[in-house]
């Protein structure tokens, strides 16, 4: 009887542990720039959609925060640090969740971006890097655990409206 109880509990524990590790290894973040526009007072607004794909595992997960650095393609120019601030978005297993993000570049970051645009040949798009960290909360049988997951992506910035 004790053997059955112990083995059953161990099986449940290892299943839960396996699901958590699988979720950590297979969770996927895809970055897509959806819009960019120049605002008054020398500001540039960039909008992305981050598509989060959770593997099909029995574990509850929630995206709590996403912050990111914006850099030139070679990483030499830093265009600012941005954050989604606190968000609470459920990440259902086996499904894709779209998270809209926005950053408004101001001051020296706009100047750096303009300089980058001037360095590329005529009509070509500027390639930028999105280097972020997602804070994901996993609901476990004996509490919660929060993990930071790197989010990387590159995108091209065409002339406005293209």
């Amino acid at each position: 009887m004790l053997l059955m109880v112990s083995l059953a509990l161990l099986y449940l524990t290892e299943s839960s542990y396996g699901a958590f590790r699988q979720a950590l290894q297979q969770i996927q973040f895809d970055i897509d720039l959806t819009d960019h526009s120049e605002l008054p007072q020398q500001q540039v607004r960039l909008q992305w959609v981050v598509t989060v794909t959770m593997p099909t595992v029995k574990i509850l997960a929630q995206l709590e925060l996403l912050d990111w650095h914006l850099r030139s393609a070679d990483g030499s120019v830093h265009l600012g640090f941005y954050t989604s601030k606190d968000i609470e978005i459920e990440l259902p297993a086996g499904k894709e969740t779209e998270v809209p993000l926005e950053a408004v570049l101001t001051g020296s970051n706009v100047e750096e971006l303009q300089q980058l645009r001037q360095t590329v040949p005529n009509e070509e798009a500027v390639m930028l890097l999105f280097q972020g960290t997602a804070l994901v909360m996993f609901q476990l049988p004996q509490g919660q655990v929060r993990k930071k997951i790197p989010v990387m992506g590159s995108f091209t910035l065409n002339a406005e409206g293209e």
Partner: protein, 126 residues
């Protein structure tokens, strides 16, 4: 013939109790602490109950001590498999994390089983 039968009986009890104690002890291993459906205290209670059950089945304190050692060996082996197999990558890069869990798990199996065996012998009127 009777001695062989007695030896087989003891080995079967040691194996079943050892696997149960090792599986219970794995529930409170650092790696699984947050993933177990029951609190870690229940894991200790289960190991203690295994010792108590064995204490009621054996004859004499000497046999109880022998069983305690056998259960610890088999239990530690079970614990090792339970912790190592899902963490093979961790075990190769940071074996000390796995070994620490196995060491403390093995110690708790040894002492809790022995306490259980002695309590079992007291209950059986020895």
């Amino acid at each position: 013939m009777g001695r062989v039968r007695e030896l087989v009986r003891l080995l079967v009890i040691a194996f079943v109790a050892g696997v149960a104690a090792g599986a219970s002890s794995a529930l409170q291993a650092g790696e699984f602490l947050e993933f177990s459906p029951v609190p870690s205290s229940i894991a200790y209670v289960l190991v203690l109950l295994v010792g108590l059950s064995v204490g009621l089945l054996v004859k004499g304190v000497q046999e109880g001590l022998l069983m305690g050692i056998l259960i610890t060996i088999i239990g530690t082996g079970t614990l090792f498999l339970a912790v190592y197999l899902p963490n093979i990558e961790i075990a190769t890069t940071a074996p000390e994390l796995i070994l620490r869990s196995i060491w403390w798990g093995g110690m708790s199996v040894f002492f809790l089983t022995l306490i259980g065996v002695f309590v079992g012998r007291i209950f059986s009127g020895e």
